[in-house]
């Protein structure tokens, strides 16, 4: 998976929770969970979508590395590269 693809999946996962999320005003290094006011249920839904779309296992211990769009994209390209088919 390219980083571009990963970022696409991240945005898609966020959009499924906050349909009107505005990515233009969301900096890549911004803590989107705070900015978009995601609660723990929202975040769990976000992780669920990421796992579904990438087939990659994401543990609770990984949550701290999922704070900004850039982080998540990096995480997916690193981690899911190896675990995917």
């Amino acid at each position: 998976m390219t980083r571009e693809e990963a970022l696409g999946i991240v945005k898609e996962a966020i959009t499924s929770i906050v349909p009107d999320a505005d990515f233009d005003s969301l900096a890549p290094d911004e803590r989107f969970r705070d900015t978009l006011e995601l609660d723990s249920l929202d975040f769990l839904g976000f992780v669920e979508t990421l796992s579904d779309r990438t087939g990659c296992r994401i543990d609770e211990d990984d949550y701290p590395s999922l704070t900004t769009l850039a982080d998540v994209a990096d995480f997916l390209t690193d981690r899911c590269w190896r675990t995917r088919d």
């Binding site: 906050v18 006011e37 995601l38 609660d39 723990s40 249920l41 769990l44 839904g45 992780v47 669920e48 796992s51 296992r57 994401i58 543990d59 609770e60």
Partner: protein, 430 residues
């Protein structure tokens, strides 16, 4: 012939807009079927049918805004529609002997004793009869004679604003005429222009209007709460180490879709603790506390930018954690997408608010009348904590209780929070 009326979908609801019919005349409906979609000031709600039968006539067109209690449809018996009409209840025949308990119960449940068939000795109405009638009855429909109801409809009078002069406060036709300032009803078909206006108004409602309506609905209910309810507040800090360890262990083994969040454990503990302290689970009605027979936990859900709703997790005390978690996700998603069920918004017996995800450590909430308590959970915070004489850094949560001093005292509230604490120390038993 039973009428399906605009239900009260929460203590703060006065009127609703019928957005969409999901049934048509001739359709067979069963108790609990979703039959219509109603928009209130706070959300869009799928409304269930209270009885079973055949839809005979829709009385209100989509797009119309009507007061709570207004008949929306006529539902005939499940058998052929013309089958044996039940003898109409005789107003005034209420002077049979009912025990004060039965009268109180009937008043609390809003059951009109004139319509209850007594099974006790000599036809007296027993407690069980009232329970039965309450269960059968459409929610908080105002007591009124059928003629009064029709008149109110024709004259555009809100039944709930009329003081009934009949038995048990039943609204009679004369009461309606007095309020409407008319000696007699207008014969014509019912006010078409009003409908058209309402439809236009509904269509013109923008998001800003909706947001304003939501603020008004919240404002009205919360003002009423602060005006009427003498709140008292308690707070305690609970060690969550055991619960957190147990949950992480569970989550490591579970697929993402079955993972738990701390809120699920907190909600379950809040529900279970009511078994020990039932004085906080129920309603303050007619100057006394009416305990609820089940735990329907209202869960405050923030709607991004436009307020909040607190739909019920029914029988939360009996749900296994994975079920509770599933229901919590489901109800949260539907609250935000505007598809709650009528039964979920109408009957929470106590409410829990959890603002932990927004970063605050404690929340002292305002009680939703007629409920008598509101439980608050803050953020899970790592705090230095003394355990067995040693200092450690452990996850903790501040649990608070706002309770109605008319219904309980501080000692009762304290026992409740202590019970929540105790339950959270044994997460495997939640």
């Amino acid at each position: 012939m039973p009428e399906f009326t605009m239900p009260s979908l929460g203590a703060d609801m006065e009127e609703g807009t019928l957005l969409e019919w999901l049934v048509h005349p001739g359709d067979t409906v069963h108790k609990g079927d979703v039959v219509a979609v109603v928009e209130t000031a706070k959300s869009t709600i799928e409304v269930e049918c209270f009885g079973s039968g055949t839809v005979e006539r829709l009385l209100v067109e989509a797009g119309t805004t009507v007061a709570v209690g207004t008949p929306l449809a006529q539902i005939g018996a499940a058998a052929p529609p013309q089958a044996a009409p039940v003898a109409p209840p005789v107003a005034g025949a209420v002077d049979e002997v009912h025990s004060p308990l039965v009268r109180r119960l009937a008043a609390a449940e809003g059951v009109d004793l004139t319509t209850v068939h007594g099974t006790g000795p000599g036809g007296t109405i027993t407690r069980a009869d009232v329970d039965h009638a309450a269960a059968d009855k459409a929610r908080t429909r105002p007591r009124a004679t059928p003629l009064a109801r029709r008149l109110a409809d024709v004259l555009g009078v809100d039944l709930r604003r009329v003081t009934g002069s009949g038995a048990g406060g039943t609204v009679r036709a004369d009461d309606i005429r007095k309020v409407a300032g008319h000696a007699e009803p207008k014969a014509g078909p019912k006010a078409e222009p009003r409908k058209a206006e309402a439809r236009k108004a509904a269509a013109a409602r923008t998001a800003a209007d909706r947001s304003a309506a939501m603020r008004r609905a919240i404002g009205d209910l919360m003002s009423r709460s602060k005006r009427e309810i003498p709140h008292y507040y308690l707070s305690t800090t609970i060690d969550l180490a055991a619960a957190d360890t147990w949950m992480r262990d569970h989550n490591r083994r579970a697929p993402v879709a079955e993972r738990l969040v701390p809120a699920a454990l907190l909600l379950k503990a809040a529900a279970l603790a009511l078994h020990d302290v039932p004085q906080l689970n129920g309603f303050w009605t007619d100057d006394h506390f009416v305990p609820a027979t089940a735990v329907h936990l209202g869960v405050a859900v923030a709607l991004r930018g436009v307020g909040l709703v607190a739909p019920a997790l029914h029988d939360a005390d009996t749900l296994e954690l994975p079920d509770l978690m599933r229901r919590l996700k489901d109800v949260t998603i539907r609250a935000r997408s505007g598809r709650l069920r009528g039964s979920e918004t109408a009957d929470p017996t106590i409410t829990v608010t959890s603002l932990g995800d927004q970063g605050v450590e404690a929340v002292f909430g305002v009680i939703y009348p007629p409920q008598v308590a509101l439980v608050g959970f803050g953020k899970v915070v790592m705090r230095p904590t003394a355990v067995d004489g040693l200092l450690g850094v452990r996850p903790t949560v501040t649990a608070t209780l706002s309770a109605d001093h008319r219904a309980s005292d501080g000692a009762v509230g304290a026992r409740y929070l202590a019970t929540v604490d105790r339950l959270l120390q044994q997460p495997e038993q939640l």
